[in-house]
Homo-oligomer: 218 residues x 2
């Protein structure tokens, strides 16, 4: 195991979960041609404490210099690398309903270094139609497509009742990750990572905030 790998393993999942937020802010700073930023300024921007920032970013080496701050480009590059945004991952959306279309239309994938390749559905009315620059294919051709094209990530936006079956098919085609919007628990082989999105969880936190009149920091 290389030293680099060892370093990565030490990063806690709490820190990893916070890194995409750093990624967003640093991407924004880069687009504004900012060369460096102090932990204090970054802390004000991101509305977290400067000590939290120093603690988070110290996990993977000292990009901050006393009196200089962080080198925006270096830090962004390192975070991109850690998060896998430089791996050139590709994705397909399985389920070309409203949510599938919304995700396909957003800049979500491009902005994170993931190339979205196609959509899949069973509805004859959408099969063969384009969603932006992406084609919608029949679910019948899922396996063939995945054999002929490298597909790392499947975005699962199918109805609940077929979530498990479709996820299994995807795992068999060799996808390495499933971004699961179905709300259904998936049991997939060890080689397939799953990230579940439960949108309603944030709605509940909002209800809590309203009840207690609190502000979000995200």
């Amino acid at each position: 195991m290389q030293q680099e790998d060892i370093k990565q393993l030490k990063i806690s999942s709490a820190v990893i979960n916070r890194l995409p937020r750093y990624y967003r802010y640093l991407k924004q700073l880069l687009s504004e041609n900012r060369l460096r930023i102090s932990s204090l300024e970054l802390s004000k921007l991101m509305k977290v404490t400067a000590s939290q920032i120093r603690q988070d970013l110290n996990c993977f080496g000292g990009f901050g210099q006393q009196g200089y701050g962080y080198n925006v480009k270096l830090l962004f590059g390192k975070i991109s690398e850690i998060l896998g945004a430089k791996e050139g991952y590709t994705a397909i959306i399985v389920g070309a309903g409203h949510l599938g279309h919304a995700l396909a239309a957003a800049s979500t994938f491009n902005n994170r270094g993931v190339e979205l390749k196609a959509l899949f559905d069973i509805d004859p009315r959408v099969i063969g139609t384009a969603c932006g620059e992406l084609m919608t294919y029949s679910m019948d051709s899922l396996e063939d497509y995945c054999n002929e094209n490298r597909v790392d990530i499947a975005v699962l936006t199918v109805p609940k009742n077929c979530a498990v079956a479709v996820a299994r098919r995807l795992a068999e085609t060799g996808v390495r990750g499933v971004w699961n919007f179905t709300g259904v628990e998936l049991e997939l082989p060890a080689g397939v990572s799953v990230q579940n999105v439960h949108l309603g969880d944030k709605l509940m936190t909002l209800c809590y905030d309203i009840k207690n009149n609190q502000q979000d920091e995200d």
Copy 2:
């Protein structure tokens, strides 16, 4: 200030952010007519440690009894109360595009005790059309609607370039919370809570998991 309020203030935001997940699992257990569950069993189900569960749930009083476990109904009721799911909050979706329609069609709101009332858009092609049982109204009638109906939550699914202006209008109508899907930072008056959803953050965590072949626990 009542004792109840004081207790709530002591709950950390980290615990609050985890509560919706307990809510989901307990709701499921309730629907299966489960009367009680041990922290060990809940821990296996939710794939977190039993000590984490005990620690989280001890924050708001002892619903767990040694050798008995948690009373599912009591615990679910308490978590619902803390999260504001019993407040009868109402919501509108502003931006009836793909994402707005996807959210309207999902059981996200109902399942969390929030009543979704209507959608709003500027597109003449969708104004006046129904989305399931919900009507889509013109943005011109937003203020009138909010004056005539109690609207606690606005779900913001408009394009980035009008996010700030629309959010300000919503704040002026008196909504108490904005569920913000636009990716744009909103500066709203102190009385308005905001929960930002950055879907891409989860995509990045998935990329990290793929790169490191890790499994999600959510």
